[in-house]
């Protein structure tokens, strides 16, 4: 009798657990529904999202949409042989997972540049280091007239500069196979995993969201290594008949007196700008635009209504500012 009661109680708990899991999964369908990464065989990125898949995200900003036929967050599909005028390469910042599809840099540029096609292969975790190593494959695959590489910093350790110049870094893993791949199919479990990652990061830094580059104002790169890297990038682009633009968007910090401070080393930025000019690369610095927008309209390029003020990823306005500046630069160049 007692054994039967215990069995029935355990059965109830298991059943309730299953129901709760289903409810939570339904909630995540619109709150944290992120496609799975798959390795990208053409090497233009280390991985990309599952193609034509619905996504939704409410943890940082609110956005939902569908990946394109290649698995990128583009409003347009990339058909074979489609001419691409501007190719955007970069991290989750340029990818725009946190804003509506029509608000990303690529979508806005496509609106502004009527007879040009802008295509973004921005992908999470594909920071400048990764993009440098993927540049050749990306140019080979898309053959754009112009390629834009995004970076949030201008200061790199010597070791990283060497790795970028040599292209010898370890590839980012997609983790789409095995037990991890299987677990990733549950949005709720992925959300828990993301929470765990954030918790561990916060334990180490005390902050939930990464703070922008806080290196000192005087720090600089190794001159020779930087010149070598940028020359190599410039040569690679030239070999494919593409113009190279490096887009730099500094982090911002609201100060106690109400002013806005740009993070990162100013000297490193100037050094980077000079090295770019030397190598024949266009360097687009968003610093002035960010400051001007804040001065005139108190608009911040980063952060959302559900995150700390001015922190995290580029928001709708940030994407718009970058799109404007890129269009302006392209017009100037032409």
């Amino acid at each position: 009798m007692r054994k039967g009661k215990i069995t029935s109680q355990i059965g109830r708990v298991i059943l309730a657990g299953i129901f709760a899991f289903l409810i939570l999964s339904a909630f995540c369908l619109f709150y944290y529904n992120v496609p799975i990464h798959h390795a990208n065989p053409d090497g233009s990125t280390d991985y990309k999202w599952k193609a034509n898949d619905f996504y939704a995200r409410g943890t940082e900003g609110f956005a939902m949409g569908r990946t394109n036929n290649e698995g990128f967050l583009d409003a347009i599909d990339c058909e074979a042989g489609m001419p691409i005028d501007v190719l955007l390469m970069g991290s989750s910042q340029i990818e725009g997972f946190n804003v509506a599809m029509e608000d990303t840099v690529a979508a806005r540029m496509n609106d502004q540049l009527e007879h040009k096609t802008v295509y973004s292969i921005g992908m999470s975790e594909h920071v400048f280091e990764t993009c440098c190593c993927n540049l050749e494959a990306a140019l080979e695959r898309y053959r754009p007239a112009c390629v834009v590489m995004e970076t949030a910093g201008c200061l790199f350790p010597d070791e990283m500069l060497s790795v970028m110049a040599e292209g010898s870094r370890a590839e980012l893993s997609s983790r789409a196979d095995g037990i991890i791949g299987l677990l990733q199919k549950s949005d709720y479990l992925r959300l828990l995993y993301a929470q765990k990652e954030k918790y561990q990061k916060a334990q180490a830094s005390g902050q939930e969201i990464d703070l922008p580059d806080s290196s000192g104002d005087d720090a600089q790169n190794d001159d020779i290594l930087l010149a070598q890297l940028l020359q190599k990038l410039s040569d690679t682009a030239a070999a494919h008949g593409a113009r190279l633009i490096i887009l730099y968007h500094p982090g911002t910090e609201v100060q106690a007196d109400g002013s806005l401070r740009l993070t990162g080393s100013r000297k490193a930025k100037e050094q980077f700008r000079a090295a770019c000019a030397e190598a024949g690369i266009d360097f687009l610095d968003m610093s002035e635009r960010f400051l001007a927008e804040y001065e005139s309209a108190h608009v911040l390029p980063y952060g959302f209504s559900n995150t700390p003020v001015g922190s995290g990823h580029l928001n709708r306005q940030g994407h718009a500012m970058i799109a404007d500046e890129l269009c302006r630069l392209l017009a100037e160049v032409e």
Partner: protein, 461 residues
């Protein structure tokens, strides 16, 4: 060891299992010793050196109460905890204030504020006074008294449990039962949700705005002030819920510490619903000994004002807290002067809104680091300052949560024909749907929790 940490959950699991095992096999004495050791371990987890302080406060209270007929012993029992509190919490504040008056550079000792000191010294004081007043017999069992003062669910941030309420429970057959655990973990989870989902997310926005008030649009500053009202409520009431839930799991009962304070129609009602254990303590051991309302109208206002002034100081060693207490004291006096119905604002909703607006205004001084910082916040609103607009999502979630809770309480009260009162959404965990909802709640807490570091607001007091 914060309640909202994995360490605490492991600790509590061990204590709960240990208590259940001990009370089935050993005399009650062993269980009391086990809980006492667990409580001291809990306290030592912050800083083991302050266990000696806790023991000292307990020992002085024990000795004083045993000789309660002697005035000297009684005075010693009152003065000893006050000296401890005064030294650790107010010494540097006193030095800085004196230095400011005589125009010297303030010196300061490096004194670490022992966590929970304001709470356990007040418990010790209430015990000594109650024994002296004859409300309670002096406790001859040192272990029981030590357990009352150090019982870990209420040790570091309240509620301030009275000896008359808790000590008798130690003589009763209190057990860890399935029913107690079912109720206790639901109340604990409810508090955890309020703390790590609502309060902690709100703190992100509030901290941003208070760190740079000149940067924000006036409407955003107002939203931040309202958000702080919600943050401090969710934070502290969440902690109280967790304390109540933990105690219940172990078989003990604590009184409710919050009762929908933001539906109050005047400040008097607010203080009946907010931090009830502190309001009750201040009334019983400060306002009434000062003379209460027995020495005429004017003296009553003075007593009320003084009580709130000291209540403000209890919260923190800073003049902003004293001012906050003074503002509340002033409002209470005005409220009393206006008659039994309070300050006559027309309509229930308007009265609730007016009270909420006033309380939110006073919280500005409570939250700001200085008068200058508080003034920057206020000036930003008065001058209709332009700046960053941030319609913070979690502020609206918090408002919705408050609203839904209030409507549910109102409907429940209307059905029963009673006064509106807060209640815990305790489900029947014997049914599949009850269990499903409970598991969903736990799942949502894990999924939505703020993962950054954010200690309980009241730990600093």
């Amino acid at each position: 060891m914060s309640f909202a940490s994995v360490h605490f959950l492991i600790f509590f699991g061990i204590v709960l299992a240990g208590t259940a095992l001990i009370e089935r096999r050993f005399p009650r004495r062993v269980k009391e010793c086990f809980l006492l050791l667990a409580s001291y371990f809990f306290y030592a987890y912050w800083d083991w050196r302050f266990c000696a302080l806790l023991l000292f406060v307990t020992a002085t209270s024990y000795c004083s109460a045993k000789r309660s007929e002697s005035k000297a012993a009684f005075v010693a029992g009152i003065v000893a905890p006050l000296i401890v509190l005064g030294f650790f919490k107010y010494f540097n504040f006193f030095l800085a204030s004196v230095a400011a008056v005589i125009g010297r550079e303030p010196g300061a000792l490096r004194i670490i504020l022992p966590v929970g000191i304001s709470f356990y010294t007040f418990q010790a004081l209430s015990y000594v006074i109650d024994v002296r007043r004859g409300k309670l017999a002096a406790e001859h069992d040192f272990i029981k008294l030590a357990l009352y003062i150090s019982f870990f669910p209420q040790l570091v941030a309240g509620p301030i449990v009275r000896a008359v309420h808790f000590l008798p429970q130690l003589y009763e057959e209190r057990r860890v039962t399935v029913e107690n655990i079912k109720w206790g973990i639901q109340v604990f989870a409810f508090g955890l949700f309020k703390k790590i989902v609502l309060a902690d997310h709100l703190s992100v926005f509030v901290d941003d705005v208070y760190a740079a008030p000149p940067a924000f649009h006036w409407a955003t500053i107002v939203l931040a002030a309202v958000s702080y009202s919600m943050q401090i409520y969710f934070d502290f009431s969440g902690y109280s819920d967790m304390a109540i839930g933990c105690a219940k799991c172990l078989g003990y009962d604590f009184h409710k510490n919050f009762d929908l304070p933001y539906i109050s129609q005047n400040v008097t009602e607010f203080w009946r619903r907010w931090h009830i254990s502190l309001s009750g303590w201040l009334k019983e051991y400060l306002y009434i000994p000062l003379g209460g309302n027995r020495r005429g109208e004017h003296r009553r206002y003075v007593n009320l004002f003084l009580t709130m002034l000291l209540g403000g100081l209890w919260h923190g060693a800073d003049w902003t807290f004293v001012f906050w207490g003074g503002l509340n004291g002033l409002a209470l006096c005005l409220d009393k002067a206006a008659g039994k119905k309070g300050i006559a604002l027309p309509g229930r909703l308007l009265r609730v809104f007016g009270t909420f607006a006033f309380i939110t205004f006073t919280w500005i001084f409570f939250r700001a680091d200085s008068f200058a910082a508080a003034w920057t916040v206020i000036r930003g609103v008065i001058s209709l300052q332009d700046g960053i607009r941030q319609p913070f999502f979690w502020s609206f979630v918090g408002l919705a949560f408050l609203l839904i809770g209030t409507v549910a309480a109102d409907r429940k009260a209307a059905k029963k024909g009673e006064k509106v009162s807060g209640f815990y959404p305790v489900l029947d965990l014997n049914s599949i749907w009850g269990l499903t909802l409970f598991f969903t709640e736990i799942g949502l807490i894990l999924a939505l929790a703020y993962t950054g570091e954010n200690p309980f607001v009241y730990f600093q007091f």
